[in-house]
């Protein structure tokens, strides 16, 4: 056994291998009988228990597996997709409703022919009551929804009737209750899996779905894929697809490639570059839909130099809005124009004074007492190429007014933590306002001490406006308050509004029926495959 014969052996093996590889060039996919919608997703579903769902992936599955209280109507845009019309609410699990007592009471009539797919039971008022009990009992995100909607009591008033009591009229009730986590759950199944240390059956429910929605889960391989099957007894008729397969593919380029090769029907969470590459691919289409998703740079308004409003205004003039829109988003999405998204109700472009004007920026900085500029650390979460690209552009323009921007990418956990503890000097991320109401945004984000007030911002006048908005249902009154809301935030500039992001999703050309929902979740029900035979 010497060197030469070893090499020869190696060469022989290589030749055999090469021939074998060449011969096995059969199609790499195996056909199925049923029509399955295959979607490539970025990460696993966290939980099937709606109150505990915190991530987009689980929210999407919950949307499709549970039958929500209400939903938005949709309209055709003529651009190959439909959008949800946030001004028009339809009943889903709830068939009809009546306001009583000057909007302090709401009588709900539950739809009678809805069935829980896995158990075959019909949905009754008990299942809704169960949902409310769990909201209070589990002390989770759904409780926030209940309280923000000003609900004080939920009582069962019949087998198919419920009455909700409100402390004040709530302009956000319907928007909050079409949320994916608001849906009846099978109270019998839940009760069967209660344990001594788990009175709300949270462990069982996190892995088992008990919804009456358009689909239900038939298999779940953690980290690999989840398969949903159509609920043939769904009240609005069965979905087009027999099954939906959610394939977990953590790398975005891999998802893009799978779509291009035809191995998946839809690829989610792709980067701008991948979408750009896919636009030219045959049999693939990319939908680019303007949304109320804003790219926001938030300041910690309590530490110098950012505690000085003129400094913040100066920086607002140092943002190259058009360049970001044209260069980074390639003309998709919209140029930012204020705290209410351009497509939002009550948006008023005339109130927005900021444009890219370095002279004004310098002048304001001088007025503020920083003619030499200053240093600024901008924290962003890792793995967000768009955010990084915008940050790089800002770094360049800010340097021209002597503001030295240091970009600091952090792991998502640290980034999230420091948002909560107000440790960032400045941060940047995109924020989606899926409730089209400035009061809601204010309640969540701009109010003093609000849960997501990551700027430490406090403006008592604004707080009062938000408070009034939270109970104002009259449109004229809302419009007035919204104008004040916009004016106050624009002047104070606690954040920079950098761009309005489009929602972009890539799918095979033959997939149609897409409906854009305000929270960017993918709704499988209306999708179908065009067959040109």
């Amino acid at each position: 056994m010497n060197g030469r014969s070893l090499l020869l052996l190696g060469g022989l093996i290589l030749v055999v291998a090469f021939v074998a590889l060449k011969r096995t060039r059969i199609s790499e996919t195996q056909d199925r009988e049923t029509d399955v919608l295959v979607i490539a997703i970025a990460s696993d579903i966290e939980t099937l228990d709606p109150p505990f769902s915190r991530f987009q992936r689980s929210n999407e599955t919950n949307l499709n597996v549970f039958d929500q209280f209400f939903r938005y109507a949709s309209r055709d845009t003529g651009k190959g997709y439909r959008v949800a019309d946030v001004g028009t609410i339809e009943g889903a699990a709830i068939e009809s409703w009546d306001w009583l007592d000057g909007q302090r009471r709401l009588a709900l009539k539950i739809r009678r022919d809805t069935v829980f797919a896995k158990t075959g039971r019909t949905v009754t008022a008990d299942d809704f009551a169960c949902w409310f009990e769990r909201a209070y009992g589990t002390d989770s995100g759904t409780l926030w929804n209940v309280e923000t909607a000003k609900i004080t009591k939920a009582e069962k008033t019949g087998d198919y009737e419920m009455t909700l009591h409100f402390s004040d009229p709530s302009p956000w009730f319907f928007s909050l209750f079409r949320d994916q986590s608001q849906a009846p759950i099978d109270h019998v199944a839940a009760a069967q899996h209660v344990e001594s240390d788990d009175e709300w059956a949270t462990r069982w429910l996190s892995k088992n779905d008990v919804g009456s929605g358009e689909f239900y889960v038939i298999s779940w391989e953690p980290g690999v894929k989840m398969v949903l099957k159509a609920n043939s007894k769904y009240w609005a008729g069965r979905a087009f697809f027999d099954e939906v397969e959610l394939r977990i593919v953590p790398n975005s380029t891999a998802r893009a490639l799978l779509l291009r090769e035809g191995e998946v029907d839809i690829a989610t969470d792709l980067s701008t570059d991948e979408l750009q590459a896919l636009r030219g691919a045959p049999d693939v289409k990319v939908l680019s839909i303007p949304t109320r998703n804003q790219m926001i740079l938030g300041f910690n308004t309590n530490t110098p130099p950012l505690d000085n409003v003129k400094v913040r205004q100066a920086l607002s003039y140092a943002v190259p809005y058009e360049l970001i829109h044209e260069g980074i988003f390639k003309g998709r999405g919209l140029v930012s124009a204020g705290p209410i998204p351009v497509q939002g109700r009550f948006h008023d472009s005339s109130l927005w004074p900021y444009a890219f004007d370095l002279e004004k920026a310098r002048a304001l900085l001088e007025e503020a007492g920083y003619p030499e500029g200053f240093e600024l650390t901008l924290d962003i979460a890792q793995g967000q190429p768009l955010t990084e690209q915008v940050a790089v552009v800002l770094q360049d323009t800010f340097s021209q007014i002597a503001v030295k921007l240091r970009i600091n990418p952090q792991s998502s956990a640290i980034f999230a933590e420091q948002l909560g503890t107000l440790e960032h000097q400045a941060w940047m991320r995109d924020l989606l306002w899926y409730v089209d109401d400035p009061g809601y945004t204010g309640e969540l984000f701009f109010k003093t001490g609000a849960v997501s007030n990551w700027m430490g911002y406090s403006n008592l006048e604004l707080d009062e406006v938000i408070r009034q908005l939270s109970v104002m249902v009259d449109p004229a009154g809302k419009a007035r308050l919204a104008e004040t809301y916009q004016k106050l935030i624009i002047t104070d500039a606690p954040v920079l509004f950098l761009a309005e992001l489009p929602f972009e999703i890539a799918m095979r050309e033959e997939i149609d029926g897409y409906v854009q929902l305000p929270d960017n979740l993918l709704w499988y029900y209306p999708l179908y495959r065009k067959k040109d035979r």
């Binding site: 975005s252 380029t253 980067s271 570059d273 360049l323 260069g327 970009i407």
Partner: protein, 294 residues
């Protein structure tokens, strides 16, 4: 014959001491020595002079001109931010070499004395240090570096310290192996008898013998350090945006390659490859100077 003129074929001439350079050329051939040293020098000079050279601004973003293929205007094309890849590749020399050099020097400065002490003192200290260094060689390097950087903060200083840390065992072992045979040498024994303190013996008599092997190892360690730093920045650690650095440049262009935009990743990778190659070659050249005691 004149007294100060060495005869043509005398034994004296054969045994005359040549310069280091002369010895290198003799051992490796003029062509190899000249080529490698010259290329390395060119790279270092380019790196040092980078800001003065007529290059495009390496950190100027141009979103409208992103991902342009190589052309007369942009020799290596532009990346996703629209920055000129050629200028960035040249400027990256500074980042990579500076980081690598500092880590290696720090590692050697700590490792060499440690190895010398350990080799000279022997006993439990020696045993302990050897075992500990062996353990640290068993750490999954990249993973552990990631964990440390994530914990201690993702700064350039920390990157230098982590890579320096990985260099300590290399120099410690090398110096120790030089020192152990020297323990019994006469002048060391003499110094001991003369009550010269241990540290003095180590530093004055023993360590200097290790200088040449250490110096010959330095370029190779630099090569590994450059690779490790590039690997870490490929994973997103230790870089400041938008400072040019080969590993992060490769990472930025990685996803573009699959769609046919090869230039943002290929060129920095070539530069990295070439630098490591040259450093390894130079290290070989220096090692040929080490006199073997066999």
């Amino acid at each position: 014959m004149v007294a100060n003129q060495l005869p043509e074929f005398s034994a004296a001439r054969l045994f005359a001491r040549r310069s280091l350079y002369g010895r290198m050329v003799e051992a490796n051939g003029a062509w190899r020595v000249h080529l490698n040293l010259a290329l390395l020098l060119v790279i270092l000079v380019l790196g040092v002079l980078a800001p003065l050279l007529p290059l495009q601004d390496p950190v100027k973003p141009d979103p409208l001109g992103s991902l342009r293929p190589p052309s007369s205007e942009h020799l290596f094309g532009t990346d996703t931010h629209g920055m000129d890849v050629f200028a960035r590749v040249i400027h990256a020399i500074r980042a990579d070499f500076a980081l690598a050099l500092s880590s290696v020097v720090i590692g050697a400065l700590i490792g060499a004395p440690l190895g010398a002490l350990s080799g000279y003192l022997g006993g439990w200290f020696d045993n302990f240090t050897t075992r500990v260094t062996e353990v640290f060689q068993g750490f999954p390097q990249i993973l552990f570096a990631m964990a440390i950087l994530a914990a201690a903060g993702n700064t350039l200083l920390n990157v230098v310290l982590v890579v320096a840390f990985y260099n300590i065992p290399v120099y410690s072992k090398m110096v120790r192996s030089v020192v152990v045979p020297l323990r019994e040498v006469e002048y060391v024994q003499a110094a001991k008898v003369a009550s010269v303190p241990t540290l003095g013996i180590v530093f004055r008599y023993i360590l200097p013998n290790a200088l040449v092997p250490v110096f010959s190892q330095l370029p190779l360690s630099c090569a590994y350090a450059v690779q490790m730093i590039a690997g870490l920045s490929f994973l997103g650690l230790g870089v400041t945006i938008p400072t040019p650095e080969w590993g992060s440049m490769i990472q930025l262009g990685a996803n573009q390659m699959i769609f046919g935009h090869w230039w943002p990743s290929v060129f920095p990778g070539l530069a990295l490859f070439l630098s490591v190659w040259l450093l390894s070659n130079v290290s070989d050249l220096l090692k040929s100077l080490v006199v073997r005691r066999s």
